[in-house]
């Protein structure tokens, strides 16, 4: 089973903190990989927050192909970052790991945010298509103020491999997942966290309703709903669909993926809307043992459980720093001196929401709305 470690803070911190938390939960994962998504970046990226960052991996031969492609699209390279790769036993370096900051093509600089997001998405998908067949190019995200890092191996070793223990990169929100999708052949595009236009989730547990959900998302005719190398990718896309495409407030994400029974809706003011929503988004109901952790473009982080609460999950910390983890030992590793009595273990109706900058934590109850 995957182990998840997310952290949100009002100060910049190293993703190594998440990795060390994953290490304490090692009994529960097989050390087969690490996926990191960093948002609200510090250090050398702090002054570049409005510019999109392309994160990924490419082979030595593909560096030029990628650069030429970006140039042809009109993107202007502003800054380039690469992890300081340290040779670690068991991890085979794949060539170049990169996070390149670009300025938008000239004619897009004054366009709306939505138009620019569309451009970034289409560019990322085109690059994916360009390099997926021969595995020469992997691109995980292309969005302002977000970096994704993914590799196969033990999380702690992957952290060292990327040189993250040297404190070179920091962020205010980091989502870390400690296991490749080992239920199937290991493939980087199947590694959580999954990111789409500012929305990001990671999940543990297998999603048994994967196929109908995938078919529903694919038929929405939104180009970003693609991939699905992992059954967990749909969680990120449902979040994107309900909040960005349909414009629902975040809490309705919970109502879509784990809808209430009709008899449980009585205490909700929005009962009528809930019923209609449940009917029209019936194929998006998840049905596996899943704990979902994610963030939205404004920096809100959340954790929620499947409708039977079949997976562990805990949120702890204090104003200014909250962690959302699979297990309590992970929370202890990162915030050992917190008031443990305030730890939150969300149950089946709960959605824990941590406001941007870790300002406060709320438990939203689905029965009460």
């Amino acid at each position: 089973m995957c182990r998840l470690a997310a952290m949100t803070s009002n100060e910049y911190f190293s993703p190594m903190e998440n990795i060390l938390a994953l290490e304490t939960m090692k009994e529960g994962h097989d050390g087969s990989g690490l996926g990191l998504v960093l948002k609200d970046l510090g250090g050398e990226f702090e002054e570049l927050k409005n510019f999109p960052i392309l994160s990924g991996i490419c082979s030595g031969n593909s560096v030029n192909i990628l650069d030429e492609f970006m140039q042809a699209q009109g993107f202007k390279l502003m800054h380039s970052w690469s992890p300081l790769i340290k040779q670690v036993a068991g991890i085979n370096p794949r060539g170049h790991y990169f996070a390149k900051v670009y300025d938008y093509p000239v004619h897009f600089r004054r366009r709306s945010r939505q138009e620019r997001e569309t451009l970034l998405l289409n560019t990322r998908l085109a690059l994916r298509e360009l390099g997926e067949k021969d595995g020469s190019i992997f691109v995980f995200s292309f969005y302002p103020d977000v970096i994704s890092l993914k590799e196969v191996g033990d999380p702690l070793q992957v952290g060292e491999f990327f040189g993250l223990d040297k404190d070179i990169i920091k962020a205010k929100i980091v989502l870390a997942q400690g296991r490749q999708n080992t239920n199937y052949a290991i493939y980087l595009y199947a590694c959580h966290p999954f990111f789409l236009q500012g929305y990001c989730t990671m999940t543990n547990g297998e999603n048994t309703a994967f196929v109908p959900i995938r078919e529903f998302l694919l038929s929405r005719e939104f180009p970003g709903y693609t991939g699905y190398n992992s059954d967990s990718e749909v969680f990120a896309h449902i979040l994107h669909y309900t909040t960005r495409q349909l414009g629902y407030p975040l809490t309705y994400y919970k109502d879509v993926i784990t809808p209430l029974k009709n008899t449980e809706m009585d205490n909700r003011d929005d009962k009528e809307a809930l019923l209609l929503m449940k009917q029209s988004q019936r194929p998006l109901c998840i049905d596996g043992p899943n704990c979902v952790i994610g963030f939205t473009p404004d920096g809100t982080c959340f954790m929620l459980q499947d409708s039977k609460k079949l997976r562990p999950g805990v949120v702890g910390g204090a104003k200014g720093k909250y962690v959302l983890m699979s297990e309590e030992c992970g929370v202890d590793r990162v915030v050992p001196h917190r008031d443990r009595s305030t730890d939150i273990f969300p149950m089946k109706y709960d959605m824990v929401i941590v406001k941007p900058q870790a300002e406060e934590v709320q438990v939203w109850n689905q029965l009460q709305g």
């Binding site: 048994t208 038929s219 005719e221 809307a273 929503m277 019936r282 043992p289």
Partner: protein
């Protein structure tokens, strides 16, 4: 040499028993000549007769054979094709000494001769094909175990419900945000009616095709399931109206009223409209039937007794045939849409209205037209294994389309358009053919059906219908149903106790519910019906796997 009378002997037209589908085996030594078998036989295929019997005995101090002749009573099977033994087995049922039983004769030449008078063989029942259907070949192979825990069918909560009605796409829901909460803006768009129902429905069997206790038993069972067991099972009236009291009762909400090309019973329904205290569950417009595609409804004169005549608004003892097609039908875009509109309007757009068609290669064309009609609430497709009360044998055996691939291609077509949740598909025809009700239903759901409809299965399970795929019984059309299920003859239908039928209906649905949980639990599905979860299905035939888009296993 010709006989003196001048009448020519013609043995070519005298059939032997070998030509018959069932041969009655009778044991002289076990029979006590009570006569029960001959009186109960619905087709008079056996008769009491007398024979001369010669016996040879050797007796006395110096035994020597001596023969005697005596007249004995016997049971004889007639060789008149109009009175062929249907294999129903009622004779065995009533025999106190197990002296008689029909035996299936696989070498029969029944169809060669059953066309006397220049008319094809007509019957009721099912398609005579005892082979294993595709549905029964499908296996559930995605078993949750370690990577995700299997659920416990007995302990976990399962929600086995489905939706009947046109469902709006999320993008078009008339909702607005007020103080951070979604509010429905009813003035912004028409919101079609949607019912939450149990995914196994009782399909259309009319009052008329069924006897009063049978129809009543089904209706009572359905009401009990809803009112007491909390299972929202619905039942379709079939064409022929509904008992007037039921139309005006609160139980109407558990019934789907069917309108077909003969409009039988609709005079009564329309007159009852102002007095209805509940809306029906839905309205089904019948355009076709899986058992006899392209053929209309038929209730033969012998079944049109007083009650039926009253409900349908017709004279007694006349053949009631519904035309193969609605006389008002001109084109699907126009006439079908109008029919759906009219029916919707009659109930103030509060009731889902959907068409039912027989399985056909053209189902997708119908589907696509309906997908464009925002008032079409569903599409019911009835496959070739569906049953009927009366039809030509050729229609039943040779016409039609299997449900599995027909349903699947329709579902995938909807997926392509992103409308798989908007227009529910109801699959019927052969569900539970071999008794695997829950497994067949689950397989169809995973292929894309929102619900399934059953007919023959419930007749067999709830009222011990004798029919099978070897043409056993199958005389529903004659009004002589030996079980009292499909007859209007009080002497026959008094054999059937409606309370017992209702009890069995409840048994069947509760058992199916348990079995559905036993299928869904190991597959890790409990919160929502696994509609279209085709990754859970496999089959041991490559061609079927390819056609249905599921995996092949061996």
């Amino acid at each position: 040499m010709e006989p003196a009378s001048g009448i020519r002997l013609d043995h070519n037209h005298q059939l032997t028993l070998k030509e018959f589908p069932y041969i009655v085996r009778w044991s002289d030594d076990r029979c006590k000549r009570c006569g029960r078998c001959t009186s109960v036989c619905p087709v008079k295929a056996i008769v009491p007769t007398v024979r001369v019997q010669r016996s040879v005995l050797s007796e006395g101090p110096l035994p020597g054979p001596s023969s005697t002749r005596k007249v004995v009573q016997a049971i004889e099977q007639v060789t008149d094709m109009e009175r062929y033994c249907t294999g129903c087995g009622m004779c065995s049922l009533v025999c106190p000494n197990e002296a008689i039983a029909p035996e299936f004769n696989p070498n029969n030449k029944f169809l060669h001769y059953k066309n006397k008078g220049g008319d094809g063989y007509k019957r009721g029942g099912r398609r005579n094909d005892p082979s294993i259907s595709t549905l029964d070949r499908l296996k559930f192979t995605r078993i949750s175990m370690l990577t995700d825990p299997a659920l416990d069918a007995a302990r976990h909560e399962f929600r086995i419900r489905t939706l009947l009605g046109r469902i709006m796409p999320p993008e078009k829901l008339p909702m607005k945000l007020v103080n951070g909460k979604l509010v429905v803006d009813k003035s912004a768009a028409f919101i079609p009616p949607v019912r939450e129902i149990y995914p196994i429905m009782i399909g259309s069997m009319s009052v008329g095709a069924l006897s009063p206790p049978m129809w009543e038993g089904l209706a009572m069972g359905v009401a009990y399931l809803n009112e007491v067991e909390g299972m929202p099972v619905v039942m379709c009236s079939g064409e022929g109206g509904m008992p007037p009291a039921l139309l005006r009762s609160k139980y109407l909400k558990y019934f789907i009223i069917q309108i077909a090309s003969g409009y039988f019973g609709w005079d009564e329904i329309i007159h009852a409209l102002p007095h209805m205290v509940e809306d029906p569950a839905a309205i089904e417009i019948k355009y076709g039937q899986g058992a006899k595609p392209g053929d209309g409804g038929l209730l033969m004169a012998q079944k049109v007794l007083k009650l039926i005549a009253k409900i349908r608004g017709v004279p007694q003892f006349v053949d009631l045939s519904s035309p193969p097609t609605h006389q008002t039908k001109y084109s699907i875009e126009e006439a079908v849409a109008k029919m759906i509109q009219s029916m919707s309007m009659a109930w103030g757009f509060r009731v889902p209205v959907y068409p039912k068609i027989s399985g056909t290669k053209t189902a997708r064309a119908v589907l696509n037209n309906l997908a464009r009609n925002p008032y079409a609430a569903a599409l019911s497709i009835d496959g070739e294994d569906g049953g009927t009360g009366a039809a030509y044998n050729v229609s039943m055996d040779k016409m039609g389309h299997p449900i599995a691939s027909n349903l699947r291609e329709c579902y995938l077509d909807l997926v392509k358009q992103g409308k798989q949740n908007e227009l529910p598909l109801i699959a019927a025809g052969g569900v539970g053919k071999k008794g695997n009700l829950a497994a067949n239903a689950a397989a169809l759901i995973m292929l894309g059906a929102s619900a399934v409809s059953i007919g023959k299965y419930i007749m067999q399970a709830a009222a011990d219908c004798l029919g099978d795929e070897n043409n056993r019984c199958n005389i529903c059309n004659t009004g002589k149903c030996p079980r009292g299920i499909t007859t209007q003859d009080p002497k026959l239908y008094r054999r059937l106790d409606s309370d017992k039928v209702a009890e069995r209906v409840v048994d069947v649905f509760k058992a199916a519910d348990v079995e559905l949980k036993k299928i869904f639990a190991p597959m890790g599905r409990s919160t929502e019906l696994p509609i279209g979860m085709s990754d859970g299905l496999s089959v041991d035939d490559k061609a079927i796997a390819e056609r249905l888009g599921i995996s092949y296993v061996c």
